[in-house]
């Protein structure tokens, strides 16, 4: 168990904490009448750095038999301990509660079902009709609570409450004043990652009590992470390890859960010199030198889930082979049938070139266009910055026929390739209203991908010229855009 005196970094932690917090910390004795003091103390110990929130919540809840505020809205970023704090209070103090994750509730009926079965047992929930409405729920709740009135405040905890906005529009306002509706001592606690302003319905509703869980500071993270130190090493060593880890990861990630995951994954590597006897525990600098590049690598691979954690651990085990793990994004190459490649290239050209320039690029005897006002003003921003534009099927086919060097019959399989490119998410269909008449598409692959493809198929020089030409024109406009220049130089290399 964590004991504050044994940690070397503890003073630092206290220094960082704001004075007001400090005073509160000292003064918090967590004396809430009606709850056993032992449990409260152990609760406070189990929730480090969340003492103030704990105290406030307990104060809000009041004594078990007292009526509480009808609805509380708790918000804060991921992994700031919202549900952990609330659920530990509920469990440790043995309060009647129903905890529901809104992600699971694909219909409101599921939510009602879970709440009723948590409070009154599964038999009560079975009384719900097939597609229960809100009034069914309220009726049933009333009926049940009249049989067994609440001796303690009942709590309904709704995790990921932002999902409720997608459900029935009357559900959220009704739940916010459920206490009134059912005449029972019940409190609804909503947990969410977004602020209340995004929830408020147009018609207005009962305003819940807002309560913010702030992010953990760096010192707090160190304190919490140092909790699960390895039994065979001293807590000091683990704390210094955590400090090093945070030094690398704190700038990109403050998610406690993720940091914890990373800490466990890389600790064995950190201890390697110790086990080999190359360094002592006090030799922090040496240990740091050993682990730092490793952590940097972890940031690029495991953290982004390019490499799975199991693979990462395996790699650590057989380090000697120095196997370079093939990361997920390394296999970007896709084998496509011949015409699909051309279709994709045509789609790319149609998406990123203005339609006015088609005549110039794809006709052999195009009219002379004066160079000065060839591009209109609004076209002078690079199309690559603006993203792909939708184009009709006819234009795609026209470009396709002019790009493919041989004569292609408009067979059914060419058209079916377009739809299979859509299912593969290489093209995307825009606007679903008019499928029969004039479907529109967008190209959703990157320039690099197209270049790789055209490198495979480009036996004909004309197409290469075409790509290069369209790119040069665009790059004339925005000279700063580096990727275009590399692209053009790539084309020259070919």
């Amino acid at each position: 168990m964590f004991s504050s005196s044994s940690l070397p970094i503890q003073p630092l932690c206290i220094r960082i904490i704001q004075p007001s917090n400090l005073i509160k910390r000292m003064s918090v004795t967590l004396q809430c009448p009606g709850y056993p003091e032992d449990t409260l103390r152990s609760l406070a110990e189990r929730l480090p750095c969340r003492e103030t929130q704990l105290a406030t919540l307990l104060a809000l809840m009041g004594q078990p038999d007292q009526y509480s505020y009808p609805s509380v809205f708790i918000y804060g970023h991921r992994a700031t301990g919202k549900s952990h704090v609330v659920l530990s209070i509920m469990k440790d103090l043995e309060l009647p509660h129903a905890s529901v994750d809104c992600v699971e509730c694909v219909s409101s009926g599921l939510l009602f079902h879970q709440v009723l079965s948590a409070f009154f047992g599964p038999d009560a929930a079975a009384l719900l009709p097939r597609c229960p409405s809100l009034s069914d729920f309220v009726r049933l709740y009333k009926q049940m609570s009249s049989n067994s009135p609440a001796t303690q405040t009942r709590y309904i905890i709704l995790d990921r409450a932002e999902r409720m906005r997608d459900m029935d529009f009357s559900l959220l306002p009704a739940l916010l004043r459920l206490q009134e509706l059912v005449n029972d001592n019940v409190t609804v606690i909503l947990l969410s990652e977004i602020v209340w302003e995004k929830f408020r319905p147009n018609t207005g509703c009962f305003e819940p009590l807002l309560f913010h869980f702030p992010d953990y500071s760096k010192a707090e993270l160190v304190q919490i992470l140092s909790w699960d130190h390895h039994p065979s090493y001293t807590p000091e060593l683990y704390a210094s390890y955590i400090n090093i880890l945070l030094g690398v990861f704190f700038s990109v990630c403050r998610d406690l859960r993720e940091l914890r995951h990373l800490a466990v994954l890389n600790f064995s590597k950190f201890c390697e010199p110790l086990e080999k006897g190359e360094a002592k525990e006090s030799d922090i600098h040496k240990l740091w030198k050993n682990i730092e590049p490793h952590l940097q690598r972890a940031m690029q691979t495991v953290y982004l889930r390019e490499v799975s954690s199991v693979q990462w651990e395996q790699q650590q085990m057989d380090e000697k082979e120095a196997t370079t793990l093939r990361v997920l994004s390394a296999h970007a190459h896709i084998e496509l049938p011949y015409y699909s490649k051309f279709l994709l290239i045509a789609a790319y050209l149609a998406s990123f070139n203005p339609a006015r320039t088609d005549r110039r690029f794809f006709l052999k005897s195009h009219g002379k266009i004066r160079k000065t006002n060839f591009l209109k003003k609004h076209e002078k921003t690079s199309n690559h910055l603006l993203g792909p534009k939708p184009f009709p099927l006819d234009r795609l086919m026209a470009i396709f026929y002019s790009v493919v060097d041989s004569r292609v019959a408009p067979t059914a399989s060419v058209f079916s390739q377009i739809s299979s490119l859509v299912t593969l998410q290489l093209l995307s269909q825009v606007g679903h209203d008019d499928q029969l008449d004039s479907p529109k598409y967008k190209c959703s692959v990157s320039l690099d991908f197209i270049l790789a493809i055209s490198r495979c198929v480009c036996v004909c020089v004309r197409l290469l010229d075409l790509l290069a030409l369209s790119l040069v024109i665009q790059s004339q406009v925005v000279r700063q855009e580096r990727s275009l220049f590399t692209a053009v130089s790539n084309l020259h290399l070919l």
Binding site: R78, E258, S309, I334, L336, S413, L436
Partner: protein
């Protein structure tokens, strides 16, 4: 339904009668289509065809199984490992990660079904009974996805004992949650450990209390709605402690698709490992080897047909399944259209049926072009006998069939030898794949082509060790087939003699090789280089060392083999019996062009209707044509927007042009409401076919949707 059911009713109503005639379905079967009045052995041909198709099917399945074995086994291993691992893992975050296999399958989506079927079977047999596979089409929402998973899992589990069947019947949709699945899983695993203790023991060789994983296979990952996937993963990750989930994503494009579809917060819940299946081109190559480059398989494809089939594969879909379908189609077409295809079977059977050829079929044989060519080469006396004596024809036919089989038997090993010799040459003058070589061999005399010459040139400058290695390979191929023993002997003799030469000329030949290499890469002064090379060559021939003498002997030997055995199939008498050659039909059927046929039907109605009165000249519009055709032709002359009134006027003019002669001109100016209606109907048909649509720009106009309006 012998008596007429009552249709008297108080209210108005529609009554549906199932026609009794439907029950009397045709009992002819598929074979009936081949039976014609004119020929008597249709059923025989159907039988042969079906037998061949069965061998094709079993062969393709075997090939698929062999090719997928490796990746499927490693997948099963992965799942076993994680099924064990999750109980031993004790720290929280790791346990919340769902092990996920990303199975890269390539873009040939039609082939995936077979792979998934065998994967399911394998997993159910060897790892876990709880395997679910879901398709994106059925899972538009999370609710449906969960329902699908539950249905498949619990439905299967229930079939073990009847007691629970009632429960699932009562299973309401509201209870369609993963927690319900959890409950079910607990009871089932408890039961299964009680009922089949020996089975679980056999599954677990370790000390861990094995929990059977629940495998969910997402067949087409890309097609799934990403929100649905995210929600499902979030929900499942809440239950990982109780329910050991394992996901398999079937991915057609690339693994980065996962990152594109799922945000970090979700993908951090997965522990992804990538598995690659074999590429479809390799798959095709093995199917090709087994079915087409095989003398055991009597049905053959001509070069054009192969080109069509391979073209569809490479240019359009990459699907081996479709290739096999194409093969099946050409088989059916061959056996249907060629009455002599009854001889297209194994040797003994073919000889037997050749003995009992009917008079009609003998006549047919006489009309085969290849047979006629054969007849022309014979002596005049023999010619007369062949044309008059049926029995003699039958005898000759047997002999020719024997020859044909022998030709095939020799052809394939030599083809493989030649391929192994030339496939390592720079720039692949005879093609990278054996199918290209095969196509050019059966199409024309290979030794007359330029590519063959250049390949021989390159072979003539091979170094000794390369040559020996290549010859060794050839010898292996011949050894495995156990025919052409004399050729094999000669080859081994050559190898022995080559090896006996002790490093005399290795320097020369290697120097030569380098120059040839240069020739490949330096493109600037190729002409000069060639010149100098030629000079060198001519000088060299004057003082050839023993190795070079031997080498040229070897090459000549190979050349003679090619000339003897790799003759084009078309020159073989009776090749029409085995070879299916109408590539045009195949292309028309497999690579359809709906748009062109609609346009052909509309602009040349005679083409499909075959009505003499519809024959017209190119430019004119005949009034005899169907209304739709007239309207279509008129609309071709318009721009992007078509004025309906003008169109109607033009339509009426065309219509009245025919009537002008016999009726007086009074009526033609008036609007006949019948004609008006016909016009409106034709226009709405045009809209239905997708040529025009109504536009909001001008109310009395319609917009053209096809080319040309500009």
């Amino acid at each position: 339904m012998s008596e007429i059911p009552l249709t008297s009713s108080v209210s108005k109503g529609c009554f549906v009668f199932k026609s009794a005639s439907k029950k009397r379905k045709r009992h002819v079967g598929v074979g009936g289509y081949l039976v014609d009045d004119s020929d008597e052995n249709g059923s025989d041909r159907f039988r042969i065809c079906q037998k061949l198709w069965e061998t094709v099917q079993t062969n393709t399945e075997v090939i698929q199984d062999q090719l997928n074995k490796k990746v499927l086994d490693s997948l099963a291993e992965f799942i076993k490992k994680h099924g064990l691992g999750c109980s031993s893992d004790n720290w929280r975050q790791r346990a919340r990660e769902i092990p996920t296999a990303a199975l890269m399958l390539g873009v040939n989506v039609p082939d995936h079904a077979m792979t998934f079927r065998s994967l399911c079977n394998l997993l159910q047999d060897s790892v876990t009974p709880f395997v679910v596979s879901v398709h994106a089409k059925e899972c538009a929402a999370v609710k449906l996805l969960i329902q699908k998973v539950l249905e498949q899992l619990m439905g299967r589990g229930v079939s073990v004992d009847e007691e629970q069947e009632d429960d699932t019947a009562l299973l309401q949709r509201t209870q369609c949650t993963i927690s319900a699945l959890c409950q079910w899983y607990k009871t089932v695993t408890k039961k299964s450990t009680q009922v089949f203790p020996q089975r679980t023991e056999s599954l677990t060789n370790s000390d861990f209390p094995q929990s059977l994983p629940v495998v969910v296979i997402f067949k087409d990952f890309e097609a799934f709605n990403s929100q649905v996937l995210q929600d499902f993963i979030l929900i499942c990750s809440r239950y990982t402690q109780e329910l050991p989930f394992i996901f398999i994503f079937g991915i057609a494009t690339s693994p980065s698709a996962i990152q594109h579809r799922l945000p970090h917060s979700v993908s951090s819940l997965l522990c992804i490992e990538v598995f690659h299946s074999l590429s479809c081109t390799q798959h095709l190559a093995s199917v090709f080897d087994k079915l087409i480059l095989n003398s055991q398989f009597p049905f053959k494809l001509s070069s054009r047909v192969i080109q069509v089939l391979v073209g569809i594969f490479l240019y359009h879909d990459f699907s081996v399944q479709n290739f096999v379908k194409g093969l099946q189609f050409s088989m059916l077409e061959h056996f249907k259209s060629q009455p002599l295809s009854m001889l297209c079977c194994q040797k003994q059977e073919a000889l037997l049926s050749a003995k009992t050829l009917s008079k009609k079929n003998v006549e047919r044989i006489r009309h085969l072009p290849s047979f006629m060519r054969y007849v022309e080469t014979q002596e005049p006396q023999e010619q007369v006998r062949l044309l008059t004596n049926d029995e003699h024809v039958k005898e000759v036919c047997q002999k020719l069939l024997k020859n044909l089989h022998k030709y095939h038997k020799n052809y394939y090993p030599i083809l493989q030898c030649l391929h192994s010799l030339t496939s390592s040459l720079p720039k692949f003058p005879l093609g990278k794949h054996i199918r290209e070589l095969h196509v050019s061999c059966i199409e024309k005399n290979l030794w007359e082509t330029e590519e063959y010459d250049s390949a021989l040139q390159l072979l003539r400058i091979l170094a000794k060790d390369e040559l020996v290695a290549a010859l060794r390979k050839c010898a292996e191929i011949l050894k495995s087939t156990k025919i052409l023993q004399n050729v094999l002997q000669q080859l081994e003799d050559f190898i022995g003699r080559l090896e006996a030469l002790e490093g005399v000329s290795s320097e020369d030949s290697s120097g030569n090789g380098i120059i040839s290499g240069k020739m490949e890469y330096q493109k600037t002064d190729l002409f000069q280089l060639q010149k100098t090379l030629l000079e060198k060559e001519s000088r060299r021939t004057k003082r050839m060392n023993p190795f070079e003498v031997l080498r040229s002997q070897v090459i000549e030997f190979i050349d003679s083999l090619v000339r003897e055995y790799l003759t084009p199939a078309e020159l073989q008498p009776l090749n029409e019996v085995c070879y299916y050659s109408s590539s045009g039909v195949l292309r028309q059927r497999l690579n359809v062009t709906p748009r062109t046929s609609i346009q052909a039907a509309l602009s040349h109605p005679f083409y499909y209707l075959q009505n003499e009165s519809l024959k017209t000249d190119a430019g004119t519009i005949s009034s005899a044509a169907p209304d739709l055709c007239i309207v279509y032709k008129l609309h071709l002359e318009c721009g992007r927007l078509i004025n309906l009134y003008d169109w109607l006027e033009a339509f009426l003019t065309v219509m009245s042009a025919a009537e002008d002669q016999d009726t007086n001109s009074e009526e033609c100016g008036k609007y006949d409401s019948l004609k008006h209606a016909r016009f409106i109907q034709a226009v709405s048909e045009m809209e239905f076919l997708g040529f025009i649509k109504s536009t909001k720009q001008k109310t009395d106009h319609v917009a053209r949707l096809t080319w040309g309006g500009c």
